[in-house]
């Protein structure tokens, strides 16, 4: 039994040989909170916050965002991305500051956009 186990697992196998396993390790994008920006018409922009950890209530967070940043926003349910907070205007820096102030480690926040 133990010998079989040893046979099946080759510790020196090329890491590329296991695409799924390494991609999980590589990407680890699940752990990031992504803050993105999208251009709308004219000077308008939209900020999306994606990948919020489960322990945060996105509904309450949205409410706090809206109050704090004085903007409107909504919660969008996406099949792939889960719940996404959408805010009007460029709130990227504000969101990131807000989250860091609330104790979210900065390394998990990823700011995208220009």
């Amino acid at each position: 039994m133990s010998v079989q186990n040893l046979n099946s697992f080759d510790p020196f196998a090329d890491e590329g040989g296991d695409p799924l396993g390494s991609s999980k390790d590589v990407g680890s994008q699940q752990n990031y909170i992504h803050i993105r920006i999208q251009q709308r018409n004219g000077r308008k922009t939209l900020t999306t916050l994606q990948g919020l950890p489960k322990e945060y209530d996105s509904k309450k967070l949205l409410k706090a965002f809206k109050k704090e940043f004085a903007c409107n926003g909504t919660l969008v349910d996406d099949e792939e991305m889960g719940q996404v907070i959408q805010l009007q205007g460029d709130q990227r820096l504000k969101i990131s500051n807000f989250l860091t102030d609330e104790g979210v480690p900065k390394s998990t926040i990823k700011l995208h956009g220009f």
Partner: protein, 357 residues
């Protein structure tokens, strides 16, 4: 960046020319006494406070050598932050910011002679550090080899201290200590702690090493490193809602990356779409300024071009099993890079145009 027109406030409107790299390290560092500071400073590069680890003693000494430069660099750093904040508020004023930043940072009419049209990507946070560190290493190694050769001769000359230091090198397994005793320069040999019995500290020895290193090789302090430069992205507006990134192929060639990969990254980061037209130019939907595209390109370079280990830009990106691997040409390291994911795309524009949304 036309150097003669740099400080002419009447030229504020000339965006295309002037936007070129407000954080240009050369421009920031420019000093009337030495117009072209050839060594790369970390401080000037780090527009944003990206912690890249401690600076090497070499860098510190270089800094000390040009104290006033360092001050200016620091000032410039502050300026840069101010600059960024300002930029956030008023997007229109890029040339303005540039002016003020330059003015307060250097306040000298000598602008970087080397700052030509070439966009200097080397001042990007990491990039900068990268190159200087690499240079450090190279220089250090070269020095080591040279000094090894010199070693025997020197040891005879100053037997006392040479022996003492070799002892020290054995005591603390300090890889630098062996090299430290080799080049006996002007500075080396008159440290007060040399005669004392106590154990030398690492920093003392390191400092001593660099002192002698620089004493015997003054050129190191002003040594020029080859910079990773890239032409600035040329962004034009097409119509009202599209931007054209004209030299995308050039830049991709310069970075040795597939245009598709770069374009994919650009689109994912900017949250937009676009296409490549017949002339090889990239048409991006939405209004983008050169500065913005530049920022995204910087991030691309940090993420997908420079080696994370040795900071060298000589890397190859290969795809295996749907995963991109970046292998470094100079240090041989190989690592996988994040796949480009565009993430959530909110519905913008008319719903009728997009049935699925």
């Amino acid at each position: 960046m036309a150097s003669d027109s740099l400080f002419d406030p009447s030229l504020k409107k000339r965006k295309k020319k002037q936007v070129a790299f407000s954080e240009d390290p050369l421009g920031a560092d420019a000093d009337p006494t030495n117009p072209a500071p050839t060594s790369i400073d970390n401080t000037t590069a780090n527009g944003e406070a990206v912690d890249l680890g401690p600076t090497t003693a070499h860098e510190q000494m270089s800094q000390n050598g040009r104290a006033e430069d360092g001050d200016e660099a620091k000032k410039d750093e502050d300026d840069m932050f101010a600059d960024m904040k300002k930029k956030k508020k008023k997007k229109k004023e890029i040339p303005m910011d540039f002016q003020t930043e330059e003015g307060s940072g250097t306040s000298t009419p000598t602008t970087a002679p080397a700052a030509t049209e070439d966009l200097d990507f080397s001042d990007m946070k990491k990039k900068k550090k990268k190159s200087s560190k690499k240079i450090d290493l190279e220089a250090f190694e070269k020095e080591l080899n040279e000094s090894k050769a010199k070693d025997e001769v020197d040891d005879e000359g100053d037997d006392g201290e040479g022996l003492a230091e070799i002892d020290e090198a054995e005591l603390g397994d300090d890889p630098f200590a062996q090299g430290a005793d080799a080049p006996t320069g002007v500075d080396a040999g008159n440290e007060p702690w040399l005669k004392s019995d106590r154990d030398y500290t690492y920093s003392e020895l390191l400092h001593r090493f660099y002192a002698s290193l620089h004493a015997s090789n003054p050129s190191l302090l002003t040594s020029t490193g080859k910079r990773y430069t890239i032409a600035p992205p040329s962004i034009h507006r097409e119509g009202n809602k599209k931007s054209i990134f004209a030299n995308v192929t050039d830049i991709c060639k310069r970075m040795h990356r597939q245009p598709e990969h770069v374009i994919q990254f650009l689109f994912a980061e900017m949250g937009t779409t676009g296409s490549v037209d017949g002339a090889g130019r990239l048409v991006i939907k939405g209004r983008f300024q050169q500065k913005q595209v530049e920022n995204v390109l910087r991030r691309y370079i940090v993420e997908y071009v420079t080696c994370k280990t040795c900071k060298s830009p000589d890397t190859l990106l290969t795809k295996e099993n749907r995963i991109f691997f970046m292998s470094c040409e100079s240090c041989g390291s190989r690592r996988s890079v994040n796949p480009i994911k565009s993430g959530f795309q909110a519905q913008v524009g008319k719903r009728s145009k997009n049935k699925t949304g």
